[in-house]
Amino acid sequence: MGLVGIATEKILSSFSVFLFLSILLLAVARRISTSVLLFSLQSAVITAEVLATAYQEKLAGVYVVGLLVFAIKVVAIPRAFFLLTKRLKTVRDVKASTTPTQSVFITVAMIYLSYAAVHSYGQAVHVPDDALAAAVSLILTGAFLMVSRKKALMQVLGLLVLENGIFLAALLTTFGMPLVIEIGIFFDILMGLLLMGIFTFRISDTFEHLDVSKLRKLRG
């Protein structure tokens, strides 16, 4: 089995705990920079799991996908975020609409919910429960972040966490879709981020603030 085999076995079974950790920390993060850092950590964990699966299932395509994830989500996106926060010179505070304690409670509830959901579908897909639960809780927390954070950048981050969750769920259950489709999806995510960046610049130009909850002119 070799050292690598044991390592991949370990990664797949136990790394989901790091994902739960990153989610909880994201919930309590006060500043954008820490949130971005947590996001890149999270993506690194996912890259590890991708490569582990690739090794176990002997699928060349999944390796490429793993490298892609690493390149984009661990390196490129955090750097873009830091560039953005520097250029926009806005207050670095996350400005959540729920207090940290409430956020933690909600995130824990999310994790419990994902376990309940996965349990009913889990055996149909004979995949390690906690890994799939991590993926689903990533999705739910991403959604919660988007709803609770007032900052435009934090909403983008919430979206990325959501996409991470979906990507992980896809990977665990189906060992990745045909390569062309995966690449297409990544390309779309990148373009989406680019556009959100453009719009963030526009918002900060026209509104002098990045508080999304103040964008309320269009009503009724």
């Binding site: 149909a124 189906t174 297409g184 989406g192 269009l218």
Partner: protein, 484 residues
């Protein structure tokens, strides 16, 4: 090879137009490209009619249903380009907001929508659907005013979240297919999925879960009620040709995607589950949008809510399913897009000449702007589903199907909401069209491009109301055959 043409032209065209600095040249180039594009689409539609399906590699395929929607895209994009050529004469020369950027983005937008209709692979379909959001987000925020930026941001974020759920739905369906023994390459291909559907249906829960995510995901793009909030802002703030494209074509493409999934899932786990969901969303959208029409103050937001209501009607048609229901739904998709584009064109004219879109500020335009108010009247009468126009036919078909299946709850709501919407439109249009015009609005006549665009739309509404052309009827029935 022919299938590559309709995709290549807009992409290359977009690049080409970018390098025409002079707005007039850009407009003429855009019109030329538009004509080429319509020609290519026409060729594809004719080939599909002759050979019933065209396959190009693993990702592009055109069958009866896609050719019906392609024809819709061709017709409406033609109208929009003609109208836009006149509309853009009063657009400034900002860094990003100049005619060449406008046309480039429009053609990108057309490229994504055409490829949605031509995609054979569900993953490819998702990618291109996400592409439509990205292409149109910039177009919605084109004017760079406060409202446009806010609308653009909301449109981008809400639709991307929706599309993400659709991706998860696609993955779950892919999982179910792979579990049922299909090879990974074929598991996303629509035709093989349709053939293997009964096998996939053995484990119904995954398929149902997939359809729930898909209908919430693509439903956000269609504008079903709980997920509709982005639609009124986007359509009201976008420039008029774009809101016409959004309302008339983009919503139909999203509905096209929902139809594709509905076909697979109803073949896998039986039509009961998907059709009930479609009916629920259809009725809820129709009721809520119909009521909201009563209290709107902005003309374009009124049109946006009317689009949500008509998407609800199409969903009800699909949800009912029978031969007449499907016929009504598809016909309604086409009729609605024509009527809605006519309404948006006239709304654009009103905004330009009266200066505001707030309906209490618009007064007695039937005297100051006779042709535009005539177009607005024709559009209004059509959108409310009155006899001489074509929407009456499709609503008549959907109602017949609903009564044949004795779904009285749906029918009662359907008829009540039709009357409420008629009341809302009559109230708003009476106030705008009649009464004394305020002084400073000078009389205006239509310029030729607007004349052609509105004229063609109005005439086709009347013509389709009296008699459905033979060829169009054939296309319609081929599209229905695909879904049966």
């Amino acid at each position: 090879m022919l299938l590559l043409l309709p995709i290549a032209i807009p992409v290359l065209g977009a690049g080409l137009i970018l390098c025409f600095r002079n707005p007039r040249v850009a407009t003429r180039a855009a019109l030329l490209l538009g004509a080429l594009e319509i020609g290519a689409l026409g060729a594809v539609v004719w080939q599909v009619h002759v050979r019933s399906e065209l396959q190009q590699g693993r990702y592009l395929r055109a069958d009866g249903l896609s050719s019906f929607f392609l024809m819709g895209i061709a017709f409406i994009s033609g109208l929009v380009l003609v109208y836009a050529s006149g509309y853009l004469r009063h657009m400034g020369e900002g860094r990003f907001s100049s005619p060449r950027w406008f046309y480039a983005l429009v053609f990108l937008f057309l490229f994504t929508m055409i490829s949605v209709c031509l995609s054979a692979n569900l993953g490819f379909l998702w990618i291109m659907m996400e592409g439509t959001t990205l292409a149109s987000a910039l177009l919605v925020g084109f004017y760079n005013t406060e409202g446009a930026v806010e609308a653009g941001w909301k449109y981008l974020v809400v639709c991307t979240v929706g599309i993400a759920f659709a991706l998860f739905g696609t993955i779950v369906l892919y999982l179910a297919a792979v579990k049922a023994g299909m090879s990974p390459a074929a598991a996303l291909d629509w035709v093989s999925l349709m053939d293997a559907a009964p096998r996939i249906g053995l484990d119904p829960h995954l398929v149902k879960l997939a359809f729930v995510f898909v209908i919430v995901g693509y439903g956000t793009k269609v504008g079903f009620v709980p997920m509709h909030s982005w639609l009124p802002d986007a359509h009201a703030e976008a420039p008029t040709p774009i809101s016409a494209l959004l309302s008339a074509v983009l919503l139909n493409c999203a509905m096209y995607a929902v139809m594709r999934y509905d076909a697979i899932v109803s073949r896998a786990v039986g039509p009961a589950f998907p059709h009930t969901l479609l009916l629920i969303f259809g009725v809820v959208s129709m009721v809520v949008a119909g009521l909201l029409i009563l209290v709107q103050r902005n003309l374009k937001r009124l049109m946006a809510y009317s689009s949500i209501e008509h998407m609800g009607i199409i969903a009800i048609g699909l949800g009912l399913g029978g031969p007449l229901g499907l016929f009504g739904a598809l016909l309604h998709a086409f009729n609605h897009s024509v009527a809605k584009s006519l309404l948006f064109f006239s709304a654009g004219n009103v905004r330009h000449h009266v200066g505001t879109l707030r309906m209490d500020g618009i007064q007695g335009i039937s005297r100051t702007m006779p042709q535009t108010s005539a177009a607005l009247l024709v559009g209004g009468l059509a959108i409310v589903g009155l006899p001489p126009f074509s929407l009456f036919i499709s609503e008549f078909a959907i109602l017949s199907e609903a009564f044949t299946q004795a779904r009285y709850f749906v029918v009662i709501l359907f008829l009540v909401i039709l009357s409420v919407v008629f009341g809302g439109f009559a109230f708003h249009f009476f106030r705008m069209l009649c009464g004394e015009p305020d002084r400073h609005v000078e009389n205006s006549r239509l310029i030729p491009s607007e004349y052609i665009a509105m004229g063609i739309a109005g005439l086709s509404l009347l013509f389709f109301g009296a008699r459905i052309p033979y060829l169009f009827g054939l296309l319609l029935h081929e599209a229905m055959a695909v879904l049966q």
